[in-house]
């Protein structure tokens, strides 16, 4: 393969070696579904999509009621929350509390009422092609963590 990239009659140079080495790493990443960004397993839209969609809700529990946190309102630095939530169930409670407190503080700064506890839920909904509302299939409380009251 190196020879194919290299010029005929000339020893493969740094560009050919770099290309082939990267291709090998990419092949490993693909085989193991590993992400060594910018080397990627390239799982772009590779999982099947159906009418069922799973999302994560973080609900701020406060004496006056409860309110779902919209992370888009907290600023760009908080937009990765939904990518962090699925793996947080494996974290210990101390790590969860540390993250939850930061979200709760940012929520208060964004105008949400102070909350002593955040409730993290895994929500499964069934979509209809054109309807704006989705049907709730399941709402599972995955864990609770400390807020910023």
């Amino acid at each position: 393969m190196v020879a194919a990239v290299g010029t005929a009659g000339r020893r493969p140079g740094a560009p050919a070696l770099a290309a082939v080495a990267l291709l090998v790493v990419i092949a490993f990443a693909v085989a193991r579904d590993a992400e060594w960004w910018p080397v990627s397993s390239m799982r772009l839209f590779s999982s099947p999509r159906t009418a069922l969609v799973v999302s994560w809700d973080v609900v701020a529990e406060a004496p006056g009621g409860e309110r779902r946190i919209h992370f888009a309102e907290l600023g760009r630095a908080y937009r990765g929350a939904h990518a962090l939530l699925p793996t947080m169930r494996r974290d210990d409670q101390h790590e969860r509390d540390a993250r939850c407190q930061e979200w709760a503080r940012a929520a208060v700064r964004a105008g949400y009422p102070p909350s002593s506890t955040l409730r993290v839920e895994r929500v499964t909904k069934r979509l209809s092609p054109r309807a704006s509302d989705a049907t709730l299939v399941e709402r599972e409380v995955v864990f609770r963590c400390r807020g910023a009251a």
Partner: protein
């Protein structure tokens, strides 16, 4: 003189491909909303592997320094694309900035193709390396597109095309409101035959990408396919993959021939190894 077997045109193609990539990197580095990441608390920092030693998101001032230095390097690389350091500097700056964007928790692919496939052009900047640099970048472009297609088959199989999978991708995208309009996504999703045909075309293009890039005559048609593909992705899903189009263009367009036809819009005599003129008609 360029290395044995490397024509002046190929060497010039590399210079101009690097200029195109540098111009895109300049734009990406200069206008990206990176400093807005600066407020991220340390507890939420989910770094990509090579940024883990940082421990937290840099301050706004550090972002500004990286952006200014990266933009300056990219601007220099646009002006003198055959100089190795400015191009490498711009690439490193984009790598760090895009890596920090990807340290919010979600893996981002917007810059992946450019950052990976440009590596042979970062390490192979001289006229002597031109053919290997362009061929190496093409190999990586083809490999990454193929990998994306392979993963669809591996995780979903032919159902990726022949089930309602693609329609639901579009319906979910229409609900998200990320695209400038939901009309295009809904137009395709509402017509099962059109959704299936689009999915088949998309998957087919990814899987045959290495072949299309290997055959010189098929490279420009592949560029046209990627423009349609990523333009469609922007219109239906609202996702920005412009960098992928730029990277494909860099390794498929016979830049030296275009330059020859348009006249000398680029300074000549800047290629290490003494190439000062556009030679034969050997496109990339």
């Amino acid at each position: 003189m360029p290395g044995r077997g490397v024509s002046d045109a190929t060497a010039r193609d590399l210079v101009l491909a690097r200029r195109v990539l540098a111009a895109y990197m300049l734009l990406r580095i200069a206008v990206g909303p990176y400093s807005a990441l600066a407020g991220q608390p340390e507890e939420l920092f989910a770094p990509v592997w090579f940024l883990a030693p940082l421990g937290h998101m840099p301050t706004a001032g550090v972002f500004l320094v990286i952006q200014v230095a990266g933009a300056a390097a990219a601007a220099r690389a646009v002006a003198r694309p055959s100089s190795p350091l400015p191009f490498a500097g711009a690439w490193v700056a984009l790598l760090v900035l895009a890596g920090l964007r990807g340290s919010l928790g979600k893996i981002l692919h917007n810059d992946v193709l450019l950052l990976v496939a440009a590596v042979p052009m970062v390490v192979g900047w001289s006229a002597r390396d031109a053919r290997q640099a362009l061929a190496g970048s093409r190999l990586l472009v083809g490999g990454l597109y193929f990998a994306a297609g392979y993963q669809k088959l591996r995780h979903t199989g032919l159902d990726w095309v022949f089930s309602d999978n693609f329609r639901w991708i579009l319906y979910q995208a229409a609900r998200s409101g990320r695209a400038v309009t939901d009309r295009v996504a809904l137009f395709v999703a509402d017509r099962a035959w059109l959704a299936t045909a689009s999915a088949a075309a998309l998957l087919g293009a990814e899987l045959v990408a290495p072949l299309l890039l290997a055959v010189r005559r098929l490279r420009l048609p592949f560029l046209a396919v990627t423009i349609a593909f990523h333009g469609g992705t922007w219109l239906t899903l609202g996702l920005d993959y412009w960098g992928w189009i730029v990277m494909v263009a860099a390794v498929t367009v016979p830049w030296s021939r275009i330059e020859e036809r348009l006249g000398a819009w680029a300074p000549s005599g800047v290629i290490p190894g003494g190439v000062s003129a556009v030679g034969g008609r050997t496109g990339p």
